[in-house]
């Protein structure tokens, strides 16, 4: 264990950098991801998907395909059980909490009548080999009535747009409106003060429109699952997912079985970034398994299926207007946020609304959000979902205001920065936050004042906000006779979280991180744990580990009391030493007492189950230097520094890793990444290199500065990391591009063609 923090550390384990427990498995290729399960004595499923983005299914005929060599069975939506819906077709209240009703969830698994995006699943087929299944899927005959597709949010909101769901009733201000024949699933509004008066009193008003493209999480491991519906009725799922309990419960609902009928074993996961919370192949593989004699069925997605059929994050149209006084005080703002939900309702526009003005104290504002269905894949979560689009808009306007007033852009933000006790757009108050601390750290960072030499170079900054999540987690601890502990938890580990969780238990028990062995276990073996996402895992599952460790500690003290014949109130346990205050000869190390447990009353296990409310919101910033070639529009990112208030950094290396990874994804979003849709609603760049995620050659080193404003809502001060760092890059890069070549970009991605075009238009005006 190497402590590399220079500051004095009040903790023994927290803040150090132990080697992760799963490290050796992952550098030797021996770690088991879901696709690595043995491929013998199983069957292989393939999903037939719609070639059309918008169509009515007239008929499906699987009979020819089922006669082919090696084919065992086929399923369509008709094989899904008739499930009882609520009075309005809504899902029963469950722990799954997916943002769609059950009918739409089922239609997303296997379409029953209508196709609303290209690649929507229509049928599943299973065969002895994967190649046979792939061939057989081509022989399933489907008749379609093809309809006009609409893939752009503005077009989808226009009069006479093709309507995706005739039964979709628009909700406005939380109330059903009775209005059908629209693609707008929901309109909501946040409002405070008198925005007209605010603008009337403003000395500078800037209003801009922004268009952002659909982008994908781009995790390297495609979704895959192996499912066995056994003859005793139990369904066992082995898969790659972020939310084992959410997918277990959704699968149980879709298949109309009990939660105890489904066991989900999450294997190691090859990235998710929000994209692996939803069931896709699991219910289909289960049905195929049942039809094919209860054998395990494996379904793996191709990379093209990943882009076309899983949930990207929305494209959007955003209009933001902000007003400030000549002294640089923001006093008015309006935001119009229209987000593409994809083929079914449920975009992250509500989160976008919470984020768009979040870093600032603006007394008068109106924020309107629209959730709009379009003929694109149903969106899913992606790292601070909704925030990046929205804050790209507001943070470039803020930069322009600062420039017009001749105020340093950080100074301008400091003048308006929000703080503890001030209200958010939804009316709730901020608890302890590090907005000002992040801005100060940004201003004081050597990068911010470093010389910038050469033509067509510029430096941009931006701050980003994300609310983070709490939600439920459970942890169990078993004490071994040699003083080590086994810790079991239900949070799939995407970036070293099991070690961060183990470290928190170790801190409480006064033992080393190496003496804790953490395991991510199946849904039969641990209490409900919400998925790995929302920057919540180290915060909430870490807290459950703290509670489990405290439970162990209490029992260890009681056991020592029993052994010594002392009252437990006179016994303490600090730094792994259990001792009596009444008799200094009475002392156990953790290991010594652990060795006594089995013969003095039996083993000790601890449990922790939490639903924490003390979520600490995150602020992060980025300083970025760009060079822009005005002839070609190519942007080179020459230097970046990512700064975030993380509360307490449990394992600084993996905190930095999250900051760097989020920054890299934000840079890709800013400059390259985009779904190219043709007029039929078909994505034309569904490979990694055509979609163009950043390679090692596209990025510089990514410097980080961790700011630690402890979160009073967590026993060790953790806020959580992972998401907020994706937010600042598009705006910071746009601001740097402005300082490089003098144009304000209002679209994502800011690809070379767009920059050249903007420069050209700018000269003409």
């Amino acid at each position: 264990m190497v402590a590399t923090n220079n500051k004095p550390n009040k903790y023994k384990v927290v803040g150090t950098r132990p080697i992760r427990h799963d490290g050796a498995d992952k550098v030797t290729g021996r770690a088991k991801y879901a696709g690595d399960l043995p491929s013998t004595n199983i069957l292989f499923g393939k999903i037939l998907r719609s070639p059309h983005a918008h169509a009515v299914i007239k008929s499906i005929d699987t009979s020819a395909a089922e006669k082919l060599d090696g084919v065992k069975a086929a399923v369509t939506a008709k094989d899904l059980p008739e499930t009882i819906f609520g009075p309005n077709g809504e899902r029963p209240k469950t722990s799954g909490d997916l943002a769609t009703d059950l009918k739409r969830l089922r239609d997303g698994i296997l379409a029953s009548e209508k196709i609303t995006f290209k690649g929507q699943a229509i049928a599943g087929i299973v065969a002895t080999t994967a190649h046979q299944a792939e061939e057989a899927a081509k022989h399933i005959k489907v008749e379609y009535e093809v309809l006009d597709a609409v893939t752009d949010v503005k077009a989808a909101m226009a009069e006479n747009a093709p309507i995706l769901h005739e039964d979709l009733e628009m909700v406005e201000f939380d109330e059903p409106t009775g209005k059908k024949g629209t693609n707008i699933a929901e309109h909501f509004q946040h409002k405070a003060g008198d925005v007209e008066k605010g603008f009337a009193e403003s000395d500078i008003i800037i209003e801009r429109e922004f268009d952002t493209a659909t982008v994908h999480q781009g995790y390297i491991e495609p979704h895959n699952c192996t499912v066995q519906w056994r003859d005793d009725g139990r369904i066992h799922i082995w898969n790659s997912c972020q939310g084992p309990f959410q997918i277990r419960d959704a699968t149980a609902e879709i298949l109309d079985v009990k939660a105890t009928d489904v066991k989900l074993t999450p294997l190691e996961i090859g990235g998710g970034f929000g994209g692996k919370f939803e069931p896709y192949g699991e219910p289909i593989a289960a049905l195929l398994s049942k039809k094919a004699g209860n054998k395990p069925v494996k379904i793996s997605m191709t990379r093209a299926e990943e882009f076309e059929c899983t949930g990207p994050t929305p494209g959007s149209y955003i209009k933001v207007k902000m007003g400030c006084t000549k002294e640089g005080k923001l006093i008015a703002g309006t935001a119009y946020l229209a987000y593409e939900a994809g083929g079914f309702p449920g975009s992250p526009v509500s989160a976008a609304a919470e984020c768009v003005f979040a870093p600032y104290d603006i007394p008068n504002f109106i924020v309107d959000g629209y959730d709009v269905v379009v003929n694109k894949p149903k969106t899913a979560a992606y790292r601070a979902p909704g925030a990046t689009n929205a804050e790209f808009a507001s943070e470039t306007i803020v930069d322009e205001m600062a420039e017009r007033l001749g105020i340093d852009p950080i100074e301008f933000r400091m003048k308006n920065a929000t703080a503890e006790g001030l209200r958010k757009v939804d009316g709730t108050k901020y608890s302890s936050i590090g907005c000002k601390e992040v801005l100060e750290a940004t201003k004081n960072h050597p990068h911010y004042s470093a010389p910038l030499d050469g033509a067509n170079k510029g430096r941009g900054v931006s701050i980003g906000y994300w609310m983070n999540a709490g939600l439920q987690s459970a942890v169990n601890i078993a004490v071994n006779g040699d003083g080590t502990i086994n810790l079991t938890e239900g949070s799939p580990d995407i970036g070293g979280s099991r070690t961060g969780i183990a470290m928190q238990a170790a801190e409480i028990l006064g033992i080393s991180a190496e003496d804790v062995y953490p395991s991510v276990v199946d849904t039969d073996s641990i209490g409900f744990t919400f998925g790995t996402g929302g920057s919540r895992t180290t915060f909430a599952t870490g807290w459950a580990a703290i509670e489990a460790a405290k439970d162990v500690k209490t029992q260890m003290i009681e056991r020592a009391a029993l052994i010594w014949g002392e009252d437990s109130s006179s016994i303490t346990m600090e730094d792994g030493i259990i001792k009596s205050s009444s008799n200094k000869d009475l002392q156990f190390t953790f290991k010594e007492l652990a060795a006594e447990l089995n013969d003095t009353g039996g083993p000790i296990t601890g449990r922790g189950a939490v639903d924490p409310k003390g979520v600490g919101a995150a602020f992060g910033s980025l300083i970025v230097d760009t060079h822009v070639d005005p002839e070609t529009g190519k942007v080179t990112v020459e230097r970046v520094t990512s700064i975030q208030d993380v509360g307490t950094a449990i394992h600084p290396s993996y905190v930095e890793g999250q900051m760097q990874g989020g920054t890299a994804q934000g840079i890709g979003w800013a400059l390259n990444e985009e779904y190219f849709m043709n007029t039929s609603g078909v994505m034309t760049n569904s490979t990694f290199l055509d979609y163009r995620v950043p390679t090692a050659l596209d990025l510089p080193m990514i410097d980080t500065q961790i700011v630690e404003v402890p979160n009073p809502g967590h026993p060790l001060g953790v806020r959580g990391v992972g998401e907020v760092n994706i937010v600042p890059p598009p705006a910071a890069i746009a601001n740097a591009i402005y300082r490089s070549v003098g144009v304000r970009m209002q679209q994502l991605p800011m690809h070379p063609g767009a920059i050249v075009e903007t420069i050209k238009n700018n000269k003409g005006s």
């Binding site: 550098v27 090859g270 970036g495 090692a696």
Partner: protein
């Protein structure tokens, strides 16, 4: 009756002579993973874009998803499973751990195989050279910063 005629392939994997039967259409990646249960090489894209399936074939790194299994006949293949020795982890593997150069870990075997090939031929590469060499391996978690640092640290450890 099946129409798939399987081909007998004799090859060398991580120094051991190996024989297997495969369909002519099966990629080397499929053969390694599904027939030989060497699952360290991963499938991320199956079209040569991501490098998660990187293995060494007669001294050159290749995307094993773009090589047919039958092409392994008579060749020398080195995979991630052969990088560590009974004496312990390879310095590159150790450097990846110490530098926290992995998050989800799915791309890590490919990066390590590619890095080994680089450092065995160029003991002291520049940052630009490292980035160029590894541009065929995509990592979506780390932003590559800690990977580049790990490669530099490994080069140093290996005497570069």
């Amino acid at each position: 009756m099946t129409t798939n005629t399987k081909t007998h392939v004799t090859t060398t994997i991580n120094g051991e002579s190996v024989e297997f039967l495969c369909e002519p259409r099966q990629s080397l990646l499929e053969c390694l993973r599904d027939i030989l249960n060497l699952t360290g090489a991963k499938e991320g894209c199956n079209d040569g874009n991501c490098g998660a399936c990187t293995v060494e074939l007669d001294g050159r790194i290749v995307d094993s998803c773009l090589v047919f299994g039958v092409e392994a006949q008579g060749k020398q293949i080195n995979t991630i499973e052969g990088v560590a020795t009974p004496q312990g982890l390879h310095p590159i593997q150790q450097a990846f751990l110490e530098n926290a150069a992995l998050q989800c870990g799915i791309c890590t075997p490919g990066f390590i195989v590619a890095t080994k090939s680089l450092l065995e031929n160029e003991p002291n590469p520049s940052e630009t050279r490292i980035r160029t060499w590894l541009a065929g391996n995509l990592c979506r978690c780390t932003g590559y910063d800690k990977i580049v640092k790990a490669v530099v640290a490994a080069a140093k450890q290996m005497g570069g």
